[in-house]
């Protein structure tokens, strides 16, 4: 064995924190941890509940029913040609993905301070695991949505869009996932540093829902106020999702480009800030 001292060092710890964080190889080597954490969250989530994993479906169904009653029947917001149930279910399922991933990842440092203080692993694994878990729930909910969709298509007079439009759905979902992760990472640094921010997150996400076409279609927003809703980068994604699935939505390529650029910028900035600030936050935690 060569004992030369010029063999390169495998790792180096310096005072400066890096903007780039862990290498992709390092993240990959911790993939089992990610799967383990998703599994843990799933097992813990439904421990000692009677209905167990059924809640994945019950939650959006009950929310959808409430919306149908309140916004559909009582207030009477028009959903256009689309059946009310389908309209709200699609909105709720997609909004859940955003809401859960954003609020879940935004408390990364607060929730894991103890763990981060005792053992090293790439900190990004935690938010990634959260997002993966919610994506799995989303897929289950989406499959249910497809069942309801198929029912309306086959047994009612409603005519859906052509099947090929469905191909646009993954695009909308992936962008939405990236946006919620980006926002979540950004806010995880803030909630780790300032306790006040967690209240802002809860309040902000509720307000954001009303600026997003979850319970109303953009086409029925008064022209005077439409710009507010269209400024929200989530709007094109919801409209694209509904357009692909239900054949009704107001979205232009320009809006999609805006949303895509916004998402990518946000995600890159959030990753850099997360990496740069993460180490400092451990000292405070």
């Amino acid at each position: 064995m060569a004992l030369s001292t010029d063999r390169k060092w495998d790792w180096e710890i310096k005072a400066q924190t890096s903007w780039w964080g862990s290498s992709p190889q390092e993240l990959w080597s911790y993939r089992h941890l990610l799967i383990g954490l998703v599994r843990r969250d799933f097992l813990l989530g439904y421990q000692q509940t009677i209905l167990g994993p059924l809640w994945v479906l019950l939650q959006p169904i009950t929310t959808m029913l409430t919306y149908v009653l309140v916004f559909g029947k009582v207030i009477g917001i028009s959903t256009g040609q689309v059946p009310v149930v389908l309209f709200y279910l699609a909105g709720v399922v997609l909004w859940n993905l955003f809401n859960d991933s954003f609020t879940g990842t935004s408390s990364t440092f607060r929730d894991n301070a103890h763990l981060f203080n005792k053992v090293y692993f790439p900190r990004l694994i935690m938010p990634f695991a959260q997002l993966s878990g919610f994506l799995i729930s989303f897929v289950i909910q989406f499959l249910f949505l497809l069942l309801v969709w198929a029912y309306y298509l086959l047994f009612t007079s409603w005519h859906g869009p052509s099947i090929s439009w469905l191909l646009a759905i993954p695009f909308a979902v992936i962008l939405l996932g990236m946006q919620s992760l980006g926002l979540g990472l950004l806010f995880s640094v803030l909630t780790g540093k300032y306790r006040d921010v967690k209240f802002v997150v809860g309040l902000g996400v509720r307000l954001l829902m009303f600026l997003t076409p979850v319970i109303y279609p953009v086409q029925y927003v008064a022209a005077k106020w439409r710009w507010v809703v269209e400024l929200n980068p989530l709007t094109p994604l919801f409209e694209l999702f509904r357009w692909a699935l239900l054949g009704q939505g107001t979205v232009t390529p320009g809006q999609l480009l805006y949303s895509t650029l916004f998402t990518l910028t946000l995600l890159v900035a959030a990753l850099l800030i997360f990496n740069k600030q993460g180490d400092k936050l451990i000292d405070v935690a």
Binding site: T5, E12, I13, K193, D196, K280
Partner: protein, 425 residues
């Protein structure tokens, strides 16, 4: 000489106590406004040692040393000397303020037993989860799963949620996972202070096995000098964040013990005005006098200790007695010994009490003296007036776990072997 696997160079770590981010957004915005925009001094924090000495703490200062492959290092020092911070920096948990650590090979650190354990999950699930968190791969855990379960000795409960485990079982399972890590460099912080005696023995055995297997490097923080001397070949003694001594483990441990002994176990006052006490009595002197078996030996569990004290009594014809109360470092009372009562005149009163050798267990202790009048009225409580450490001494016993019990008295204890007719046949 084998290759250097960890190179620690001028490592420093500054903690600003409670001031990285003042914790609320309003204050931070205010700080940002005054420091960045108006270029004035930070209203919440001045890194100026004269005005705010308590706000900055150098947990590590200019620590440098090289660790070579296969070496076992013991890191020793008092509480708060920076041992754990050093391990955390090397483990990549916290960033140093200055300096660099470079290394070769994989690192696993065990700063706590049971990191990442989830009470709601079963033992089996926790083995995997905690293994992943410590950096093991799925294949690696699968391969060692049976071994881990056997080592922990909880086969029957492996599919029970760990929240139903006894604390002993919990610790055994947690350590079992960690003990089967196979990194090139292993970092251990005081992990042996847990579990029952039997299990500690097993852990130390396992550690020795790990350290002797080829090329494994270990960094080990412990308060047990016995364990450090027996397991390690190199030592670092940290004192308030700085390296005090570095080198062969025996040298370092001896210097550390000699220093610990230098704590002048004595307090005295010239004038009653400065002395602790009140209108009834004031202490003139308290002293712990060890009857060392040989000069310059450290205080160990064999050493008889005499507590001597003098106080001024300001009341005529007072019926006085004194209680000597010994506490462990953790604040548990070990014993409370009352003196005989005595009618004292105005003036000095002296007393002494001897704690025999071979009675206390090893550890850190402090003594409080309570002065009582008429056997009922407390005149003055002199809390924590003396403090001392007792080192361990095991003689021929080749077992290094923490010895059980608040005290370790040496009672007459004989083994005999009655010869019976039956056995002789």
């Amino acid at each position: 000489m084998s290759e250097v696997v960890i190179q620690i160079e001028k490592l420093s770590k500054l903690y600003r106590l409670g001031t990285i981010g003042t914790g609320s957004l309003r204050q931070d915005l205010q700080r940002w406004w005054t420091t960045t925009i108006r270029k004035k001094e930070d209203p919440f924090f001045q890194l100026d040692s004269t005005t705010a000495p308590n706000q900055a703490l150098w947990a590590l200062q200019d620590v440098s040393f090289d660790v070579r492959a296969g070496e076992v290092w013991g890191i020793i020092g008092n509480n708060g000397a920076g041992k754990s911070t050093l391990l955390k920096v090397i483990s990549r948990i916290v960033r140093p303020t200055h300096g660099t650590v470079r290394g070769r090979g994989s690192i696993s650190s065990l700063l706590e037993v049971g990191t990442g354990f989830q009470p709601e999950l079963t033992g089996r699930e926790n083995i995997f989860l905690s293994g992943y968190i410590l950096g093991m791969s799925k294949a690696e855990i699968r391969l060692k799963f049976d071994e881990i379960v056997a080592f922990s000795g909880i086969e029957k409960f492996i599919d029970t949620p760990v929240k139903r485990y006894s604390s002993g079982m919990y610790v055994r399972l947690a350590f079992a996972v960690a003990a089967h890590l196979e990194p090139d460099i292993l970092i251990l912080d005081e992990v042996l202070a847990v579990g029952d005696a039997e299990f500690q023995k097993k852990c130390l055995g396992k550690m020795r096995e790990v350290s002797q297997s080829a090329g494994r490097t270990i960094l080990f923080v412990s308060h047990s000098m016995q364990a450090v001397t027996n397991l390690c070949d190199k030592g670092v003694w940290l004192q308030q964040g700085k390296v005090q001594t570095i080198g062969a483990v025996d040298t370092v441990v001896n210097q550390y013990l000699a220093h610990a002994q230098q704590f002048k176990l004595k307090q005295s006052w010239e004038k009653p005005a400065d002395a602790p006490g009140n209108n009834a009595i004031r202490f003139k002197e308290v002293e712990l006098v060890p009857q060392l078996l040989e000069p310059n030996a450290p205080l160990d569990i064999r050493t008889p200790l005499t507590v001597k004290f003098q106080f001024w009594n300001f009341t005529e014809d007072a019926l006085i007695s004194i209680n000597l109360v010994l506490f462990s470092y953790g604040g548990e009372c070990i014993f409370d010994v009352p003196s005989a009562t005595r009618v004292c005149q105005k003036g000095l009163v002296a007393g002494e009490c001897t704690i025999p050798g071979n009675f206390l267990n090893d550890g850190s202790y402090y003594i409080s003296l309570y002065v009582v009048r008429d056997t009922t009225t407390s005149l003055f409580d002199y809390e924590e007036c003396l403090a001392f450490d007792l080192e361990d001494y095991r003689g021929d016993i080749k077992w290094y776990g923490k010895w059980w019990g608040a005290v370790r008295p040496s009672f007459p204890f004989r083994l005999t072997q009655p010869q019976t007719e039956l056995m002789l046949q």
